[in-house]
Symmetry: C2
Subunit: 328 residues, 2 copies
């Protein structure tokens, strides 16, 4: 056979394998840099039967922070923007707010005034908008807001500000027998109404901060009232507590983006056998936001140092991700 | 064709359909009485696509009480027997217990003396044996006990005192797309080490009473310490609270055996669409135990009345179950 006859065959074969390789790439929005390679190497190690690092499927628990890890968190965590919108919406039922801080500033649109009220003031707005109603009423309010409210600078729905590479990572882990959980400092009742639709994570796999609940009977039916007392602050030391109390298994892989996630990553990696820990580093001011050691709200400082010291994976959003958000 | 030729064919067909029918019975340890029929009718209604009662698979949440619903609970809930055994095992480290009630009575084998200390005394024994250690240490202790300790009257391992008909029910629901959860007044850390092996229910689907946890670093590794403060009493009004805080979805089917489960069944049935509620009635003194309205520890009184009034299913262990425990 002459070489000239071989050429079409070789081209065909090349295209065929190229297509296969494209079709099989489980993380197409990730550049072929170190983080993607580390993720795939870990998943292959723990799923290969007979390998010394094999982990049985039921033990393949992966936990993800939400704010800044699965979706954006600037200018402030989106739940706060929900709280501000809700306060404005219910203000007519609270005439006293016109002269009471931080509500007065909020209603005038004076966000500096709100900020001046400090953490205490902000928590007052959260308490006023997150407690006193039934869990069903609150879920409905969240549902209405999350499907209509738009981000102040991107103009996107908040659920359109989830990270496409992380959606692919969640799906890739699940295809490989992992059970994916959210373990977030955000409110559990704020996340559950939409995480299944947006992330494929059902309500029973969402762990978050929570207030106490009280059973009451209204119109002959039991309802659960959201109380202003704290049940769980699912941040920092609270994340391993949330994982143990709600999940009851130590994750073998954990994903975060700030010092608030450090204890979760420490907890996951302190178990025996193969472990994986990853921080998303927000270094992409052009396509998203850039903040780390100096940030007051979502500092990434101690976590970064520990990641470097322990060889954990740190994702540069700028260099390691082809895209940030899903196509609209 | 003469009739004589037909006979072998008819016999063959009869045997064929008889075999199919046996092979397809999903609840072989249940007699063909009303409860079995009600369970199967409900499952068929909610799983038949296009039916007005169809429920999408992710919403098929079923919650089960544990003590008295999935396994026996006499003479006292088995976790108490674990607590007594543990107190005896660690007594050498507590010389002061020799003269301190209720420990002194317990160590002398004087159970009347222990009972005389009342709920307060029993809770002291529970606190002394369930707190102060790490969650990993506690899980190991439970694992050792549950695989070796035997029930005082049956001589069985406690995990051999689970109800065979309920094991079949759990499997039947799961085959039909249900996610099965335990929602028990028992301790979550006491159940999780063995529920996956015994019931097929993984740790993350077990809700139970819980103490607070505290993250500490020991020998450079994070550990969670079990504290004596209460986090959740997952009984009565606490069951809907446990369901909402840990699962975040309202069950469409709920199973219990005593008044401690009534609020869970009310919560499940108060949702819209098809709902199922079932109480196991302990009326089989010969094969298990018989107790209901007059029982002080596990009363079945208000729940029974409400079940009758609302048409919920009440299982007579004597009449509706062919067997109680799995074959040894």
């Amino acid at each position: 056979m002459k070489k000239v006859f071989l050429r079409p065959l070789i081209v065909t074969l090349f295209l065929y394998f190229a297509c296969i390789s494209v079709a099989q790439d489980p993380l197409p929005s990730w550049n072929d840099t170190a983080p993607k390679k580390a993720i795939i190497a870990f998943v292959e190690r723990v799923t290969k039967e007979g390998s010394p690092d094999f982990v049985a499927a039921p033990e393949r628990i992966a936990t993800f922070d939400n704010d800044g890890t699965l979706w954006s968190e600037k200018p402030v965590p989106f739940q706060l923007l929900f709280a501000f919108d809700r306060a404005k919406a219910v203000a007519p039922q609270h005439p006293e707010w016109k002269t009471k801080e931080p509500f007065a500033s909020l209603l005038k649109g004076d966000m500096k005034g709100v900020a001046a009220s400090g953490e205490k003031g902000v928590l007052e707005i959260v308490a006023a908008t997150h407690t006193g109603m039934t869990t069903d009423e609150f879920a409905q309010t969240v549902q209405n807001w999350i499907t209509t409210a738009k981000h102040p600078t991107t103009g996107r729905l908040y659920t359109e500000m989830v990270y496409q590479p992380m959606l692919e990572l969640l799906a890739y882990l699940r295809v490989n027998g992992f059970k994916t959980f959210i373990v977030s400092g955000g409110g559990v009742e704020f996340m559950r109404p939409w995480t299944e639709r947006v992330y494929g994570i059902p309500p029973e796999q969402v762990v978050g901060s929570a207030g106490k609940l009280k059973l009451e009977v209204r119109d002959g039916k039991p309802v659960l009232i959201k109380l202003p007392q704290v049940d769980l602050i699912d941040d920092k030391e609270g994340k391993p507590v949330g994982i143990q109390s709600r999940i009851g298994r130590r994750p073998i892989a954990a994903f975060g983006n700030s010092d608030g996630d450090l204890q979760m990553l420490q907890w996951a990696t302190a178990g025996s056998g193969a472990r994986f820990a990853l921080f998303v580093h927000h270094d992409d001011a052009k396509r998203e936001f850039a903040y780390d050691r100096a940030d007051k709200l979502q500092q990434f400082d101690k976590g970064w140092d520990e990641a470097v010291a322990k060889g954990w994976t740190v994702v540069s959003m700028k260099d390691d991700w082809k895209t940030i958000y899903p196509p609209k």
